[in-house]
């Protein structure tokens, strides 16, 4: 710290009476949104904790994943740490198009989402995880409403994912039933898992479900951009979508005014990255081990000072 900076900092500290070092642009609270899944709470607590270390004033606000965009556009909310390309792309693009919301780049985590089955299904349907085994076992997955087709429980309609098209293109004997929310999605998984009953459904990671339940993703032909756009690509020469789903980035976004009011914080958020394995491990410790979210986040901050001090250095 230079001499001048030291003086300003001490003066500021005296006038504002803030308890921490105050060499930040201003101490108005930065409002970070918290949603209702553990991974997002962890990323937010980690980012918030790091910014607190740098002297920023953080306020955590509970907000709905989609409804928050209204707040981000008007500047009522400032930072959202996890917008999944797989579920929030449209809302995010719309918000960015208004000019009031900016992206702070990917978090480094990759969203995986695809057809998933519990491990006990491999006994009943030995060909899994290969997708071609699905048709041999379609009758196993069938219910009264879908018979003779198997029942595939898809995500909410708004998640997209082209499952109907995939079923057509790969000639799967399945029918898509859409859950309205992911709470409903995992309620069905829990129910089936308790009874060891057949189920194949949309699961995404990083998510606690992958840690709590044993199981695997179905292995479809690997996604390439051409698969979705070029019918001649892949197994089915006449149709697109004859492959698995793309992995998607998870983005950080925020209010456009953030960089003006707290340039240092904006730079730090832009620099933030974390990988799937680290996050999956922490999510597991919270959801399965019953540890406290704030404690787990604090531990990460304590152990990774070298990593995050680079984010706030400039």
């Amino acid at each position: 710290m230079t001499y001048e900076k030291f003086i300003t900092a001490s003066l500021l500290a005296l006038t504002v009476a803030a308890p921490v070092s105050a060499d930040v642009e201003n101490t108005d609270p930065i409002r970070m949104t918290m949603h209702d899944w553990t991974g997002q709470l962890l990323t937010t607590r980690i980012m918030g904790g790091v910014l607190e270390e740098a002297g920023y004033n953080i306020e955590y606000v509970q907000a709905d994943y989609i409804a928050q965009f209204a707040g981000l556009q008007s500047g009522d909310l400032h930072v959202a740490m996890e917008i999944w390309a797989t579920t929030g792309q449209e809302a995010m693009d719309d918000a960015i198009a208004t000019g009031n919301v900016v992206s702070f780049g990917p978090t480094g985590m990759q969203a995986i989402e695809d057809w998933w089955y519990p491990a006990y299904m491999e006994e009943q349907c030995p060909g899994l995880p290969d997708w071609q085994a699905l048709n041999d076992c379609a009758n196993l997955f069938a219910t009264a409403e879908t018979a003779p087709f198997g029942r595939y429980l898809g995500g909410p309609v708004t998640w997209g994912g082209f499952d109907e098209e995939r079923i057509e293109a790969l000639e799967l004997d399945f029918e898509v039933v859409h859950a309205g929310t992911d709470a409903a999605l995992f309620a069905e998984l829990e129910s089936a898992y308790q009874r060891q009953a057949p189920i194949v459904l949309w699961v995404y990671a990083p998510h606690w479900a992958v840690a709590r339940y044993e199981g695997n993703f179905v292995e479809f032909p690997t996604y390439e951009a051409a698969c979705y756009t070029d019918p001649s690509w892949g197994i089915n020469p006449d149709m697109a979508y004859d492959c698995g789903k793309p992995r998607g980035d998870i983005y950080k976004v925020g209010w456009a005014g953030l960089a003006e009011n707290w340039p240092g914080a904006a730079a730090a958020i832009e620099a933030f990255t974390i990988d799937n394995a680290t996050m999956g491990d922490m999510v597991g410790r919270v959801d399965l081990g019953g540890e406290d979210i704030e404690a787990v986040a604090a531990e990460w901050i304590a152990e990774n000072e070298a990593t995050w001090s680079a984010w706030i250095s400039n």
Binding site: P19, V20, N57, V61, A67, E145, A179, E188, S191, R195
Partner: protein
């Protein structure tokens, strides 16, 4: 052939009577609709006219984009007297936020200096012991010792089961939303009572406020009032105010003419007439409205928590996202407990007697205010001692009880052991009831749908009603939402039918004795205030995603009015008629079938009306388990932040509700007239 031959032979007069018979009209309409529905696809194929089953896109005015553009303009550019419209609403938000912050400070956060995580607490919030003591004192003041005990038990429950902080957060929003909704409702009701055109203008607005799902206008509200508790409060107030306005109008009209006369005789000014005579004498009825406001406010806590209100609603949502059923049930029951406490308190307040009031205003200052003084003392003492020993300030974590695991195990046990039996039951109901009904409604082409509803409107309420129905249904068709509207009608219709089948006998049971009344009353109160989310997730576990799970949730929520109106109908039958039945030697069964049931039909129709309203208001919630109706359309619009789409779909729901409401109201009126009841 033979039928028509018979026709020709019958005399002219009876031919006309035969044509006028209700059986011919309703039966004919049903058969025709059924045939058209069954063969609509074939008709379209035969004529190669797809417009028969699908309203062509080219004929649809683009309501969605226009509404979206208008909202954009309103929120970004519109000005009122040179001030941005948004700044006006933001100013309003600040006015609401100030008292809210104060109450939250008192109950949850304490007095703080600074913002965000750099805030420093200067004074702690009221201690849990202090709050429990105060509400107990209020209970004793408004009614009796038993009331005091009830209040103490309810609030202790919140502390013992570890829901204290969230419950106080929720209580804070209730304490702000209820006075605004009730007071505003009273003022608007008074205005409508005195000024005829206000009454006329207000009616359709009230209908829309009650029937357009909140999700439809959530995004614009967030822009206007900012992201946070204030927006949640505004949405709650919009939803909870209409019953207060309606009740006020009814209550003021119900004041006996003699009293109004008295006011005029002693020379009251119009203002004195209103506030010294009419409003005080209408107070018991007005309190019914306040009670409704409290209930509806607590109904909104889940949705409010999605936009930053926090509290118990947020706990329910988070618990269920983690599939922590026990946690969800506990937080949900805390909402029920809070609702029961506030409901009983407001009812007790409305029935306070003159002698009670007189007794309370006797004695010295100390005697009159002994309860409030004692409460202040307890709050102060526990507050000061709480600085030293934390258990006095906030309930100790170590003493928190939890029933969480019990619920989880119970659901798990039912799931593992009875899933197949439940599945079989579900499949039977699906095969023989739900699926045929869905096919029936889905098959009705839009053109015929418009004709049928208009005909029904004409038959029941004459030309004016027919015109109204024609316009409302026509608008739904114009938006291109006919198919989704029919799915809505099917899902709600099936649920309402089942709710009536269960609810009406329950209502008859409740009316048969004091004990059964209490038990049934407590049961439906719980069903209505327990957030549907709490049982929606277990229902999905047992019945899978789909229409059946949605139907169960709707039935559970919409049951209450069917029960209440049936019970109320039985109780309000003229005792002389019952007497007459007994004298003429009716058996119990005959009494029910020949006298009581026919007498309560108008009452049942009103109950049906309310059941339909509640069923429609549940659609947005059931969209969360994957239905394909207008509720889903509203939900999709919300997740895409498409204001226009949301409002259009929300209005379509409202139009269905208004159509059903007007039709049922008109037929209840006709029936009353026929029975000589009015």
């Amino acid at each position: 052939m033979s039928v028509s031959e018979l026709d020709i032979k019958t005399p002219r007069q009876s031919t006309l009577a035969w044509l006028r018979s209700p059986w011919l009209f309703w039966g004919g309409l049903l058969v025709a609709t059924w045939l058209i529905s069954k063969f609509s696809f074939d008709i379209y194929r035969a004529f190669d006219a797809r417009w028969i089953i699908r309203f062509p896109d080219a004929w649809q005015p683009d309501f969605e984009t226009r509404i979206s553009d208008f909202m954009d303009w309103l929120l970004q550019e519109a000005q009122v007297f040179g001030i941005l419209f948004r700044d006006v609403t933001r100013g309003l938000a600040a006015v609401i936020e100030a008292p809210y912050d104060l109450v939250v400070g008192l109950l949850v956060d304490g007095v703080q200096r600074g913002q965000g995580n750099q805030a420093v607490q200067i004074l702690p919030p009221l201690s849990w012991i202090g709050v429990i003591f105060a509400v107990t004192a209020i209970g004793h003041y408004t009614k009796s010792w038993s009331m005091a005990v009830l209040m103490a038990v309810c609030f202790s429950y919140l502390a013992v089961f570890g829901q204290w902080e969230s419950a106080m957060m929720t209580l804070a929003s209730v304490l702000i939303a209820v006075p605004i909704a009730a007071g505003g409702g009273l003022l608007l009701g008074v205005l409508a009572f005195r000024v005829a055109w206000v009454d006329k203008a207000l009616r359709p607005i009230l209908d829309l406020m009650q029937t357009v799902p909140v999700f439809a206008y959530l995004v614009p509200i967030l822009f206007m009032f900012g992201f946070g508790p204030v927006s949640a409060l505004v949405a709650t107030i919009i939803y909870a105010m209409p019953p207060m306005i309606r009740v006020t109008i009814v209550a003021l009209r119900g004041v006996p003419e003699e009293l109004a006369e008295l006011g005029r005789m002693v020379g009251c000014t119009p203002r004195q007439q209103m506030w010294k005579i009419l409003v005080p004498s209408a107070k018991p009825t007005l309190m019914v409205g306040v009670n409704q406001v409290i209930m509806l406010t607590l109904n909104m806590v889940i949705i409010a928590s999605m936009i930053g209100a926090g509290g118990l609603g947020y706990d329910v949502l988070t618990a269920l996202r983690r599939l922590d059923i026990g946690g969800g049930v506990e937080a949900g029951l805390a909402i029920v407990v809070l609702a029961i406490a506030l409901d009983r308190l407001s009812q007790a307040f409305s029935t306070r007697t003159v002698t009670q009031k007189a007794a309370q205003s006797k004695g010295s200052f100390l005697q009159r205010h002994r309860w409030s003084l004692l409460s202040i003392l307890v709050i102060a003492v526990t507050g000061i001692m709480g600085l030293g020993s934390t258990w006095m300030q906030s309930y100790p974590d170590a003493a928190v009880l939890s029933t969480g695991q019990v619920w989880e195990d119970a659901i798990g046990y039912i799931n593992v052991n009875y899933f197949d039996a439940l599945e079989a039951m579900k499949n039977t109901l699906l095969m023989w009831f739900l699926l045929p009904l869905r096919q029936f409604f889905a098959g009705i082409p839009w053109g015929w749908g418009l004709v049928v509803t208009t005909l029904i409107g004409f038959r029941i309420g004459g030309f004016r009603l027919a015109a109204l129905v024609f316009v409302l249904i026509g608008l739904i068709i114009l938006t291109g939402l006919w198919g989704k509207a029919m799915t809505t009608v099917y899902l709600c219709g099936a649920s309402v039918a089942i709710a009536s089948i269960i609810g009406i006998p329950l209502g008859l049971l409740a009316a048969s004795g004091a004990t059964s009344n209490r038990v049934v009353g407590a049961f439906i109160d719980t069903l209505q205030t327990l957030p549907s989310f709490v049982y929606l997730i277990p229902v999905v576990m047992l019945f899978r995603v789909g229409d059946f799970s949605a139907m169960i949730a709707i039935v559970a929520y919409a049951l209450a009015p069917a029960v209440r109106y049936a019970a109320h109908g039985i109780r309000s039958i003229d005792p002389q008629i019952i007497e007459a039945g007994i004298v003429s030697g009716c058996t119990r069964w005959q009494m029910m079938r020949r006298i009581k049931l026919p007498m309560i039909v108008p009452e049942l129709l009103l109950g049906l009306n309310q059941t339909i309203m509640l069923a429609l208001s549940m659609l947005v919630i059931t969209a969360l388990v994957g239905t394909r109706d207008l509720g889903q359309e509203v939900y999709i619009a919300l997740t895409r932040a498409n204001t226009g789409q949301g409002i259009v779909a929300g209005l379509a729901v409202a139009f269905i509700a208004i159509t059903a409401d007007r039709l049922l109201e008109a037929s209840a009126k006709r029936m009353r007239k026929r029975m000589g009841l009015s």
